[in-house]
């Protein structure tokens, strides 16, 4: 009872220090029921599964030496932050992972719960919770093998705190997967003007260009908070074929894989090297915009 009271008080008084942005929540409230219509407003997210699920799966398989091809993510504890209606949680659950999906919006959680309830296997493997990341930090210190934050960091209020919380709930040497949108002229034109206003593949008002995150900045924040960035890949959406593909350039969408450093904050020689590399792009960041 006491902890519940404390949690509620914390929520009320730490609103200004939360990573959840209440304006963002209102936007998603209206679409809480449209998640599972594969041809509807979220169709681009549905097709994104075709590249983000193999990306997560193959990265994890490459890092582990014993796995079952029939159940590739068996036993892996995954936290899906900003899980929405569970679009990504369900495929990960089908591959054998034990998924905890959190989303600050209760309606999203309700939709997600209801959708997984018909499949007894998924029902057991996936747990949903209406909560922000900060709220679960205390009970979930170093609990998860993997954190997935897909299409989320462009909606959070305080990115550094978000990353710090990720680090706290992740086991040492655990993986963090992020997919998000770059902050470039191209991403403004394609990601907002075309996607939202012209062809309407993303509901209007979903994204704010100001909150887009360049990969250099994300990498800097990750590296300075105990992560080592392993992979950065550009992603491209083709609205005609309605499918995603990988591309060299990260100027629009991109995916990132980072690993939390081992126990006692030891950093390997490669970490020092990548720190030096990541400082360089900052000098030129101003000119790309």
């Amino acid at each position: 009872q006491l902890s519940l009271f404390r949690l509620t008080m914390k929520r009320l008084f730490s609103a200004s220090h939360s990573s959840v942005d209440s304006k963002e929540m209102k936007k998603f409230q209206l679409l809480a029921h449209k998640w599972w219509d594969e041809e509807g407003e979220y169709s681009a997210l549905h097709s994104m599964n075709d590249i983000r699920v193999p990306f997560i799966r193959d990265t994890l398989l490459n890092m582990s030496s014993n796995y079952h091809l029939g159940n590739p993510l068996s036993g892996v504890k995954i936290l899906d932050v900003g899980c929405g209606g569970g679009l990504l949680s369900e495929p990960l659950g089908r591959l054998g992972a034990l998924v905890t999906g959190i989303d600050p919006l209760e309606d999203n959680i309700r939709t997600a719960e209801q959708h997984k309830s018909f499949d007894p296997v998924l029902d057991k493997r996936i747990q949903y919770k209406s909560s922000s990341l900060e709220e679960i930090v205390e009970e979930c210190m170093e609990t998860f093998d993997v954190i997935v934050a897909s299409e989320v960091v462009e909606h959070v209020a305080d990115l550094e705190m978000f990353i710090k919380c990720c680090s706290q709930v992740l086991k040492p040497e655990g993986s963090l997967f992020i997919t998000t949108i770059n902050k470039t002229q191209l991403s403004y034109v394609l990601g907002i003007v075309v996607a939202e206003k012209i062809i309407g593949i993303v509901p209007e008002g979903t994204h704010e260009w100001e909150k887009f995150v360049p990969p250099e900045e994300l990498e800097r924040l990750l590296e300075s908070n105990g992560f080592s960035v392993k992979t950065v890949n550009g992603m491209l959406y083709n609205p005609l074929s309605r499918s995603w593909s990988w591309m060299e350039s990260t100027s629009i969408n991109y995916a990132m894989h980072a690993v939390k450093s081992g126990a006692q904050g030891q950093s390997s020689p490669t970490d020092a090297l990548s720190e030096m590399e990541s400082e360089q792009p900052l000098a030129t960041a101003g000119t790309t915009m």
């Binding site: 029921h33 219509d37 699920v53 495929p91 659950g93």
Partner: protein, 465 residues
Amino acid sequence: TSAVMAAACGRGLLAPLAGRLRPGPRAPLRSVAAAAPLYDVVVSGGGMVGSAMAAVLGHDIHFQDKKIALLEAGPRKEYDHMPDSYSNRVSSISPGSATLLSSFGAWDHVCSLRLKPFRRMQVWDACSEAMIVFEKDDLDDMGYIVENDVIMSALTKQLDAVADRVEVFYRSRAVGYTWPLPSHSCDTSPWVQIELSDGRRLQTKLLIGADGHNSVVRKEAEIKNIEHRYDQSAVVATLHLSEATDNNVAWQRFLPTGPIALLPLSDTASSLVWSTSHEHASELLAMDEESFVDSINSAFWSNVNHSDFIDTAGAMFRSAISLLKPSGTAVRQLPPSVAEVDPESRAMFPLGMGHATEYVQHRVALIGDAAHRVHPLAGQGVNLGFGDIACLAHHLSAAAFNGRDLGSLKHLLKFETERQRHNVSLIAAIDVLKRLYSTSLAPLVLLRTWGLQATNALPPVKVRI
């Protein structure tokens, strides 16, 4: 919220794929559905194609923790050992189909039972001298003649080997299917509901219809089928040859009434598939064994349908070809003569063609004769079905490895596009051949004579066939 949900459902119906996501008026209540066991895949129909589909999925590494069910209306048949006499229902298995069967260990069983490889295929006309010979350059096997019972025995063995993943329901006929709404509400189940004749219920994420050309799955899913009954029946029988021979050639002669084919079973036995008019078929079944054998020999050897005009025109064309392409003409060989027919082995069945306009719908896929039915003249029927299996299994395996919902239209449509692209032209060609060869009118005979001779001379076309 219910208003929003209703609006969402309505919009779902207007989406581009709306035609495939049929709303069922009888979508089941969640409480009722909850009791029925849920399978990942249910295959309806335990014939060669249905059993092979279930076996392929059961042996797939990405289906290791999935539950599959196979529904078969008939009883389980034990195939402990093959009887000495050959069964009268045989199939011509292509090398591609043999590869599929060996991918899950069934082909080894077939080889250990019995089969007959053939190296050549000679096809010729009753109304002219034209003929076409198929054979592989490297003298590899072109195909195999296998009794259907042998294939079923091999499939049953391989199904038993994965009994922990594939549950076979014998003597189970599905009497009703209930289709899910595309965007389901919390009251209705998202799965396909199946009701069996004994009252049992099953639920599944994907229903595969392999229940033959009168497919119930196809009818219940309201998928339109283009079908046509030929005015022909096929007579099958097991024949004994006058003398032992290498017997590695498949023979087919186009008579005006229909093609007659002799498929090798062993050095001394062959299987007969004679497509002819319904009346003639009944006569053939009724006549005594000696007359039956005489009819067969005469059908292959007699030249009564030739006319001088056609013969001359054909000979002219042939000399023209041999000038242009010396290797393009071959000597016509004579098929072996038949001495006896196995008593009790004569049977007949009506022929037709059919093609489903769609192979897939939300949570439903059709394979084999349920999707397409062809005339036996090209020996393609079961091979098309095995081709369907290879394609569908490939897409389902990839979907499972990506954690996708198995019943999702997205990958089912990829299967449909691939197979329709392959099947439609072949099915149309077989139908055209059937009609072209059902006449003795001179112009058409000339056309097909020259066409056959030309095709025989052109390697690229022959290889494609």
